[in-house]
């Protein structure tokens, strides 16, 4: 699993500044550190590095493939959906060698023609791969950090927090350069004027599960999980026309139950079928409806509960009975319910079910919790048990005393602060100070961001410590292919021509062509799998030789 975060950005005092340009400055500032500078002190970027961060390998990107079994015609796609084209007026990708014909054994490389001249790199499409295995790039008009692949919700929190540090360091580097604009980044999802930008979750799911079944079983859970996963928002409606507070940042922008689009008519379940892995075995479930959260427990619970429900659905292939309880939870109007739940701060409004009954969001969540528990049996691993216990406890307390969740649930924490301000200074919900607080909540600067002020005051529960987050800024997770990607970037950065989720392209000058090393199996390329091999290789040439040709 992994989390993508698009950050909001402003240049203080210049609201009209070009966001594409600012975003590429942000990404370029960090990319200029290079794999070595990334580890060194913050000043390393000033002189320019010997080795740049590698670029992105677009070979396997296919944003128009739909999980329902068809592809959207390129010409009829909205231009913002063509995310696989690095420099919009077409340019040759780094791989002119054509698609792979077969999956080579393990990590054996394939030859790729070396371009005679360096391809043009559009600065507005800045993208780079970090030593922790993450991707940092410009997505539309926002800097985006896509975390490396991890195997547990807690690890997802650690590398998500690492992404906040990467983003913060990028703007600190910019600030050191007098020729560059100051930029402030926000980890939120709306501007209150109609624009929304996303936090996307990705989960590896067994391809055996029919997509329709996945959607059917998942939707009521996704619609209602905002009760503990929502970040809270001041303003109602896409443009915030009506005054008030709602649970979710994204709710007003969810307009369809299922769909391929991510920038318009946003769906509860996105059908982009771009597995970034062996597509015979897996799909990548791409969820775009959630809120970016700063509270660690909120992020952990969101990822933890969602992966448990996905586990349940996968288990249903072998044991259909475990999915039986979910039948009774289907919603009559899922899209409408997203909005209803988001605006019901009492958490008591019943939602219409497909079978004519009614249940509250908390009751639906409890239905999922009990279904997972029943299927799980006695002995889940420690983290799974912890997720189940907290899920239970948070649902219970949201029902009896929501304010007791203010250290764990982001919308509750935010609302508590806003209500305090409203009461103290007699403010109505349309007062600009409350809207400003909502925005400043997610300011990534520790000295300015309201979340950070709360964290410093011990008012939120932490699951990570600063030291492990600082390590995760540089180090990849050990137990996924991100280990191979990140380590190769760190060790052999100069030879890494490009990389992507499922490939690394090495340029060894002594060889006639580039070598493309496939990483089609997300569980391969772990420290256990390749740690010793990578240590034994002195340089990229040695690595290519050891891996052999496919």
């Amino acid at each position: 699993m992994g989390i993508e975060t698009e950050f909001g950005l402003v240049e203080p005092g210049r609201p009209g500044a070009n966001p594409m340009l600012l975003s590429s400055h942000v990404v370029a500032a960090y990319a200029a550190l290079g794999p070595e500078g990334e580890r060194a002190g913050a000043s390393a970027g000033a002189t320019g590095p010997a080795v740049r961060h590698p670029r992105w390998d677009y070979e396997d990107e296919d944003p128009l493939a739909d999980a329902r079994g068809f592809r959207l015609d390129r010409a009829s796609a909205h231009p913002s959906m063509l995310t696989d084209d690095p420099s919009r007026p077409a340019a040759a990708g780094p791989d002119a060698g054509g698609p792979e014909t077969a999956v080579p054994a393990e990590l054996a490389g394939t030859a790729v023609r070396r371009p005679a001249t360096d391809e043009y790199e559009d600065p507005g499409a800045a993208t780079t791969v970090l030593t922790n295995g993450a991707r940092l790039y410009v997505d539309h008009a926002h800097p985006e950090y896509s975390s490396p692949e991890v195997t547990s919700p807690r690890a997802a929190v650690v590398w998500d927090k690492a992404g906040e540090q990467v983003a913060l360091r990028s703007v600190r580097l910019l600030a050191q350069n007098p020729a560059m604009p100051d930029v402030v980044l926000y980890k939120n999802n709306v501007d209150g004027k109609g624009a929304s930008y996303g936090m996307h979750e990705n989960y590896l799911v067994d391809r055996q599960v029919p997509f329709e079944e996945l959607v059917r079983s998942l939707v009521p859970f996704l619609v209602t999980r905002q009760v503990f996963a929502g970040a809270g928002r001041v303003g109602l409606g896409q443009t915030g026309r009506d005054a008030g507070f709602q649970i979710s940042q994204r709710a007003d922008y969810v307009e369809a139950e299922v769909g391929l689009e991510t920038t318009l008519r946003r769906p509860i379940v996105n059908t982009r079928d771009e597995p970034h892995a062996d597509r015979v075995r897996w799909r990548r479930l791409h969820l775009i409806l959630g809120d970016a959260t700063l509270l660690e427990v909120a992020t952990w619970l969101r990822l933890g509960t969602t992966s448990l429900v996905l586990w349940l659905i996968e288990t249903g292939r072998e044991r259909p009975a475990v999915l039986e309880p979910l039948r009774a939870l289907r919603l009559a109007d899922p899209v409408g319910a997203v909005r209803t739940v988001s605006r019901d701060l009492t958490l008591s409004r019943p939602l219409d079910l497909a079978d004519g009954r009614r249940m509250t969001a908390l009751e639906i969540q409890r239905g999922y919790l009990e279904a997972v528990r029943a299927a799980m049996g006695d002995s889940p691993d420690a983290e799974t048990q912890a997720v189940l216990d907290r899920w239970d406890s948070v649902l219970e307390r949201l029902g009896s005393d929501p304010r007791s969740c203010a250290r764990e649930v982001e919308w509750v924490a935010k609302l508590r602060l806003l209500e305090g301000m409203r009461t103290r200074d007699h403010l109505a919900w349309d007062h600009p100070r409350l809207a400003a607080m909502d925005i400043q909540w997610s300011d990534l600067r520790p000295e300015r961001g309201l979340y950070h002020r709360l964290a410093a005051a011990g008012a939120v529960e932490r699951l990570t410590d600063d030291e492990e987050v600082a390590r995760a800024v540089h180090e990849p997770p050990a137990d996924t292919r991100a280990y191979f990607r990140g380590t190769v970037v760190r060790r052999f950065g100069a030879a890494v021509r490009a990389a992507s989720w499922d490939s690394v392209v090495l340029d060894v000058p002594s060889l006639p062509s580039l070598r493309r090393i496939p990483l089609r199996d997300p569980w391969r390329g772990t420290r256990e799998h390749v740690g010793v091999l990578l240590e034994e290789c002195e340089d990229a040439a040695a690595l290519v030789e050891r891996l052999g040709a496919g």
Partner: protein
């Protein structure tokens, strides 16, 4: 959970102490406890002084 008990006790203990406050608007405005008060003081220092122009200037392009 332990943290919850603690907080509830604190609220019960301290709420009556400094509550001569008229509650002007929402019924949900039960938001006065000592922790919130001190958090608000802390936040006063970092809040944008001109909230209106700050909010107006926070304009983003749509993303995914």
């Amino acid at each position: 959970m332990a943290g919850q008990d603690q907080r509830q006790h604190r609220r019960e203990d301290e709420e009556p102490a400094d509550q001569p406050e008229p509650v002007p608007t929402a019924p949900a405005a039960q938001a006065r406890d000592a922790e919130v008060d001190s958090l608000l003081e802390e936040i006063d220092e970092v809040l944008e002084s001109n909230a209106e122009s700050f909010v107006r200037g926070f304009v983003q392009k749509g993303g995914q």
